[in-house]
């Protein structure tokens, strides 16, 4: 029997969606309590459960040959992967938001932005020719304009309800963020036949 393909899945909300989707395609797996490595029932896949933001690191170093994660995590990591299959679930957008009465035109100097997505934010605004000052935060970014740390934030927006609750509004969308099946390019080149078969199995109808 050939050895199983290795794949990293992110902990959290996306994991549940991936597990549910895989089940509809006949791939069943579960992690024993506190365990972070599991096999699917057929033992075609060896699955690692990792922190979302660490997933690209495991795939880039070839520890996991494949992974499923959002484009935000891929872009922020700076690593290059094969993006083999986009999924319709888990999609969101990276947006610029701020207090309702803020005006981009009246800012007088570089735009100060609080965000967890420093790389993507810097790249986006520099591509637009807009100088930005970035304050890195690790979570609850919506607080920054409310408490006066920065007038704007860049964050993932799904429904916009958190923004609304904090009296913030979206000024512009920077990127649509899709969830992808990614692969380490060298791993794909060795296992392309098995991976292509796997893609055929998990492709959405």
């Amino acid at each position: 029997m050939s050895s199983p393909l290795t794949i990293a899945l992110p902990k959290g909300r996306l994991y549940d969606r991936v597990q549910k989707h895989f089940e509809t395609k006949g791939i069943f797996f579960e992690f024993e309590k506190r365990k972070l490595v599991a096999y699917d029932r057929e033992e075609n896949l060896k699955i690692y459960l990792v922190k979302n933001s660490d997933l690209p690191t495991y795939v880039a170093h070839g520890i996991a040959g494949m992974g499923i994660c959002g484009e935000d995590v891929i872009l922020e990591s700076g690593h290059h992967f094969h993006k083999l299959l986009p999924f319709s679930f888990g999609g969101t957008s990276l947006s610029l938001a701020g207090l309702k009465d803020f005006s981009m035109e009246d800012r007088g100097g570089p735009l100060t932005i609080a965000t967890s997505y420093t790389e993507m934010t810097r790249r986006y605004f520099h591509d637009q020719g807009i100088p930005v000052k970035i304050i890195k935060l690790n979570g609850s970014v919506e607080l920054a304009p409310v408490l006066g740390l920065a007038p704007c934030i860049v964050d993932l927006v799904e429904t916009g309800s958190t923004l609304k609750a904090n009296n913030l509004e979206v000024f512009q969308k920077l990127h649509d963020i899709k969830v992808h099946l990614i692969a380490n390019p060298a791993y794909y080149k060795i296992h392309y036949k098995a991976i292509n078969k796997f893609i055929g199995q998990i492709r959405e109808d």
Binding site: A60, H61, G62, S77, G78, P185, A186, Y188, K189
Partner: protein, 358 residues
């Protein structure tokens, strides 16, 4: 002041005792094998004038190259790619009577690396170049030598993926320069839909679909031959010469016992250096997150560095990232000297023992 004794600059590495012993033995094995194939050793300088290479560096290599200013105020670069330094050396001294020429090299290279990029480990390159032998036989000689080297190192499952820069350039040639850059980007990420969309800007829908299939193709010699017949009709036959060449070299490796499983035609391989023109290839090994060897044919590089002979100095070669391979190789390296020695033996006794041993 930071304690620099405990810090290691990015892009450097030290080897210790047994690791060095293994590294040197494997290197010697590679050098011996290259010399058995008629390749002679060459040594390149550690640094050179940056201006000589400026237009040949792609943006990634440019970013990774360390530069410095010498006492006369000239901008210098440290050796970040041996092929380039070798081409300059050869371009200056080679005459057409000496062609074809076979050389091998092994040396450290200096590249800046991001702190996260530990998977690259490209501090040491060893490789071979066949200068002045254009066409099928030159390509096959280099591919076979690389294949034999990989086999002799007893690696886990390995593959050499061979592509063509000509195919990619011909297809991308109809696009705008920005379109060509986008196409390359999407090919590297293998985003089929985006590739089709980019090609769809200038090609008919059904041609864009077929060309995207072509660019994403990976398969054996037989699988490639089965498709190539249809692909050569695309773009009014413009792809036929490059397809014919790939068909011809893949039939070459098919004849050799065991090579058909080792090689693949992979049309998504387009070469990461700007100077490639012809076949390009990468070797992959189970257990390494990046390619363990890469190479290809380059035509005008020696002319760029002053070669003026009438015979073309078209060259083909490969670089092995030996440090990655050493970790994966199952080759047995016997004879690592005992670390515990009898210190009561005098120097004269030791000399006598070693002489006797010989």
């Amino acid at each position: 002041m930071k304690n620099n004794l405990l810090r290691l600059p990015q892009g450097t590495e030290s080897l210790y005792l047994e690791e060095t012993f293994r590294h040197r033995k494997i290197l010697r094995h590679m050098e011996d094998m290259s010399e058995d194939w008629g390749y002679l050793p060459v040594q390149t300088p550690v640094f050179d004038f940056y201006d000589n290479y400026r237009q040949l560096l792609d943006s990634k290599l440019e970013e990774q190259t360390y530069k410095m200013i010498d006492r006369e105020g000239d901008l210098m670069m440290l050796r970040s790619d041996i092929t380039l330094f070798l081409a300059r050396q050869m371009g200056m001294i080679l005459s057409e009577e000496e062609l074809p020429l076979r050389v091998h090299y092994s040396d450290s290279i200096l590249r800046y690396q991001d702190h996260e990029d530990i998977s690259s480990h490209e501090f040491f390159q060893a490789g071979c170049e066949l200068i002045g032998k254009p066409g099928r036989e030159g390509d096959l000689e280099i591919l076979f030598l690389l294949a034999e080297l990989l086999r002799s190192l007893k690696l886990p499952e390995s593959r050499i993926h061979v592509g063509s820069t000509e195919l990619f350039k011909t297809i991308a040639g109809s696009l705008t320069p920005e379109g060509g850059t986008l196409l390359k980007k999407y090919l590297q990420t293998r985003e089929e839909k985006e590739i089709r969309k980019t090609l769809g800007r200038v090609y008919k829908k059904e041609d864009a679909l077929e060309l995207s299939r072509l660019l994403l193709f990976i398969g054996s010699a037989d699988e490639f031959t089965a498709k190539a017949g249809d692909w050569e009709k695309l773009m009014e036959g413009a792809l036929k010469p490059a397809l014919d060449h790939l068909r011809s070299i893949s039939s070459g490796w098919k004849e050799i016992d065991g090579f058909d499983e080792l090689f693949n035609i992979d049309l998504s391989e387009t070469g990461d250096q700007a100077y490639y023109a012809g076949i390009v290839f990468n070797a992959y090994t189970e257990g390494s997150g990046t390619a363990v060897a890469s190479g290809g044919r380059y035509d005008g590089l020696l002319d760029h560095f002053g070669y003026t002979g009438g015979k073309p100095a078209s060259s083909v070669g490969f670089s092995l990232f030996l440090r990655k391979l050493e970790k994966l190789s199952a080759i047995d390296i016997p004879g690592f000297p005992e670390t515990e020695t009898d210190e009561s033996i005098s120097a004269a006794q030791k000399l006598a023992a070693v002489r006797k041993g010989k």
